[in-house]
Symmetry: C2
Subunit: 241 residues, 2 copies
């Protein structure tokens, strides 16, 4: 049976980290809120979120239904799916390291989001522009370099070599590292270009992921939603002067 991904249908957002893993694995999945059949679409997702018969409800999308199992929170979904999709190592210590990397990437994603929503999560960007400018300044000036520099260090110190983040094989963290690199390039093209000059191994990793046949096919397909200003990585030129 196909597993069902539930996420907002018009943005990459946090759901994209799950989509990339499913796509790379060639998994049989349905991106439910983007479909139009019975029990599909955004309305069906909202109904499911409010369904009192669901014993394990998610706080927010994305969440996944895999037969009887429902799981939400991006990093938890990936930790659950990783072994099934062949995108996670076997040993507990290696799984913990993979989880740690994914959670650090999640922190970067959260900070990228906060650049356009620093003081009011439920208001529009246009209603918090001065605050966003200040938040983005620190993000551009220090935080991006700290996060990407950490990923570069992880690659440089990998005893198996700098090809992948964890050991000698592709994991979902590599796909996620690609995604944040793409997102930063879209949202903060100037700051990202500058920072990425100092992280050649990460740039190589992103290139390697982009060239994976399944990922390349996905990126070229209509299934890949374009970055836009409703997502997490938004390009507001005034935030990347």
């Amino acid at each position: 049976m196909a597993c069902e991904l539930y996420y907002w249908p018009t943005i990459q957002g946090r759901g994209e980290f799950v989509r990339l893993a499913l796509e790379q694995a060639g998994a049989d999945y349905l991106d439910m809120a983007r479909l139009k059949g019975p029990g599909q679409g955004v309305e069906a997702m909202m109904r499911l979120m409010k369904d009192q018969a669901v014993t394990r409800p998610s706080f927010a999308p994305p969440f996944l239904r895999d037969g009887e199992v429902m799981v939400g929170q991006t990093a938890a979904i990936l930790a659950y799916l990783g072994p099934k999709l062949g995108l996670a190592p076997q040993a507990a210590a290696d799984r913990a390291w993979l989880d740690q990397i994914q959670l650090t990437i999640a922190d970067l994603v959260a900070e990228a989001h906060d650049t356009h929503h620093p003081v009011d999560l439920e208001a529009y960007y246009k209603d918090q522009k001065p605050e966003a400018a200040r938040r983005a300044e620190g993000f551009r000036g220090k935080r991006i370099a700290k996060f990407l520099g950490w990923l570069e260090t992880v690659l440089a110190r990998n005893p198996a070599g700098p090809e992948w983040l964890v050991g000698a094989r592709l994991t979902y963290a590599d796909l996620s590292a690609f995604q944040v690199t793409e997102g930063l390039r879209y949202a903060f093209p100037k700051a990202a270009a500058k920072t990425l000059k100092a992280t050649p191994k990460l740039v190589d990793l992103a290139d390697r992921v982009r060239a994976l046949p399944n990922i390349a096919a996905y990126l070229a397909s209509e299934r890949r939603i374009a970055f836009n200003e409703d997502g997490i990585f938004r390009h507001y030129p005034e935030l990347d002067p």
Copy 2:
């Protein structure tokens, strides 16, 4: 061999979620940055963070050293430790649910932090007070109720009953739910009191955790650092009018 926890020595912060799990399990652990022997103290932690021989460095504290294994990121540390400490279920689907709850609690913790640091992570609260007031307004008015309401729903829908969050046994998520309840009561006493009236099962859970013999002993000991205004849950009366 004792496992070593590395975290800032003067605050509860994110390290407290790990401390509570170790304490409840009666684990043999050293809170390294709080000790004064050779290889201990904050300076030793900072040296370890910069040590180029560490192949799996953490982006930030907390991190744990358990023999040869090093793991950082609160939720990853707990996912790693949980099974060893008897604070996690066996089945993969149940582990995923536990992870999902922990990550949702982590989101609440991050939002609590952002109430006093909305626009500049590296500046003081006093340098972003108007922005903090605006961020705190939304946090008090909507977000606390949404997060705590979700935890209440998780308890109410647990097929094994509302005693614990996951199944019929204590897990580290219960300890974490207790911790955020305590933190919110400290930081936002008025808003928390109001919100917690609508979440009686969560209040009962927090009381149940507080009364666990190992937790009660820990809370009464000098090992429990008091909440303070260097931590994540800070009491600024102007943010809880």
